[in-house]
Symmetry: C2
Subunit: 138 residues, 2 copies
């Protein structure tokens, strides 16, 4: 199949498929006489794997590792698990960070009347380096 069909079937844009090839995430595909890329069902399988991995938030670099583990029949599942656990930690850290932001901002927003007056606890909070204040209230 052509790249457009592969894109539709895998959910990865044609643009990105070319890009993944360019950075060596996937192998160069076969080409037709005219130079069109041709994809097999096996290639599609790989693209779907990448798509799944991306939707779990793995970076392309991590996916490179996952792919090689996936294709290595002799791999130890402990290696895969280590990669997954590391990514879970990255996700947790990010969630913690965003939650802290959210809570601080929510506190400020709750105090803000949100009316026509100029007085605004949100701006005051930003002014007073609220970023350093820990979210311990309420």
């Amino acid at each position: 199949m052509n790249i457009g069909e592969a894109a539709k079937a895998s959910g990865i844009s044609a643009k990105m498929i070319r890009h993944y090839e360019g950075i060596g995430l996937i192998e160069e595909s076969r080409r037709s006489a005219a130079g069109y890329r041709i994809y097999s069902n096996n290639d599609l399988h790989t693209l779907s794997f990448i798509k799944s991995s991306r939707s779990l938030g793995f970076s392309l670099d991590q996916i490179k590792q996952l792919l090689s583990q996936w294709q290595d029949r002799g791999r130890a599942s402990s290696d895969v698990k280590a990669l997954a656990l590391q990514h879970i930690k990255e996700l947790d850290d990010k969630i913690t960070e965003l939650s802290a932001m959210r809570n601080l901002l929510q506190n400020l927003a709750t105090e803000c009347h949100g009316d026509n007056r100029a007085e605004c606890p949100i701006l005051q909070g930003l002014e007073q380096q609220c970023g350093e204040a820990k979210a311990k209230k309420t």
Copy 2:
């Protein structure tokens, strides 16, 4: 004060201060005879405001709006609040997305023995388009 001192005092790198000036987030600073940037306490105040805003996750574009509202004595606090609420929603959406990823991945990781054997539920999960449980992008 010079840019280095302003950087230390505000917690924003000199590099970024120049960048913020370049994109028009802050005004061009005064210069010494030799061309060195010179910052006043007032400039520092602005930089700290930006620093706080960044640490709450506002984009530079949003900060541009916050800054103009901050400097507008006649602003209505409702405008500021709207911006804050919008950002809270962005944060919530992101947190939801990341949590979904985390939970899916955690489930796979829990099933994985993580030993020397090749059998690996994580890779199997990725292979079976586990990504279908929608984790949407931003």
